[in-house]
Subunit: 113 residues, 2 copies
DNA sequence: TGAACATATGAACACTTATTCATTTGTTGA
DNA sequence: TCAACAAATGAATAAGTGTTCATATGTTCA
């Protein structure tokens, strides 16, 4: 019985392991979601749905310090979720692409079900 | 000029605030993504794509302790991302619905682009 | 009932992370 | 060039999180 059970597990494991994404992909996936897992960052991204905005205004809208926003924007930038352009002294941030929108909308569906 | 700028900001803010999801929704959204933002949990969910599995086997597949898996399953259960059924001494976990699959696939697209 | 097994849970610890504060970098206009 | 402003950054701190270890709960079978 024990032998049979072990064999069965072996097979199951092999099948599942085969279909499972690579360790690295799963790690990157978790890292991506980690970025969305913060209220400040999610708010930033949602605000940018409406178009580009400068750091100061983002801070005002979010009611957090300029420094805090800047730190978070750095993280979003690092994950290529936002892009930016400089116009004189001010820097305008915008969504990098529509993936961001899709990901957030996908999560929204689960929330508002 | 300063007055005009302030007025503009006021309008912008009002427009953006109007379209922005409620504070509570954004909080819940971040909480949801926070759950996906851990390698162990993402792996658990991906494994469950292939069907239900008991705690012990999940632990073996993930190479983590039974306790660790159990703790993480508790979190997934709390977020209604997984469901479970008891059969004797063993408990089998499975995905709660297809939302989970969609959310993970959505993130995958961003990774593998 | 009690031994054996599967799972769940609580406390503790190490590690990560978001914000704040102080400072620096970069840009404009006088 | 220098003062004023916008944004970025580094260090420090406080709060949150995942794992481990020990133990409890729940179930089966002798």
């Amino acid at each position: 019985m024990e032998k049979e059970t072990d064999a069965m597990h072996g097979d199951d494991f092999a099948v599942v392991r085969e279909k499972l994404p690579d360790e690295e992909v799963l790690y990157d996936l978790a890292e991506l979601y980690k970025i969305f897992g913060d209220t400040t960052r999610v708010k930033l991204l949602c605000i940018l749905f409406e178009g580009e905005m400068c750091v100061q205004h983002l801070a005002e809208l979010l009611q957090v310090s300029q420094s805090a926003v800047s730190h978070q924007l750095r993280i979003l930038k690092g994950a290529r979720l936002v892009k930016y352009r400089r116009d004189g002294k001010t820097v305008y941030y915008a969504l990098a692409d529509d993936h961001v929108r899709e990901i957030i909308e996908c999560g929204m569906e689960h929330i508002t079900e």
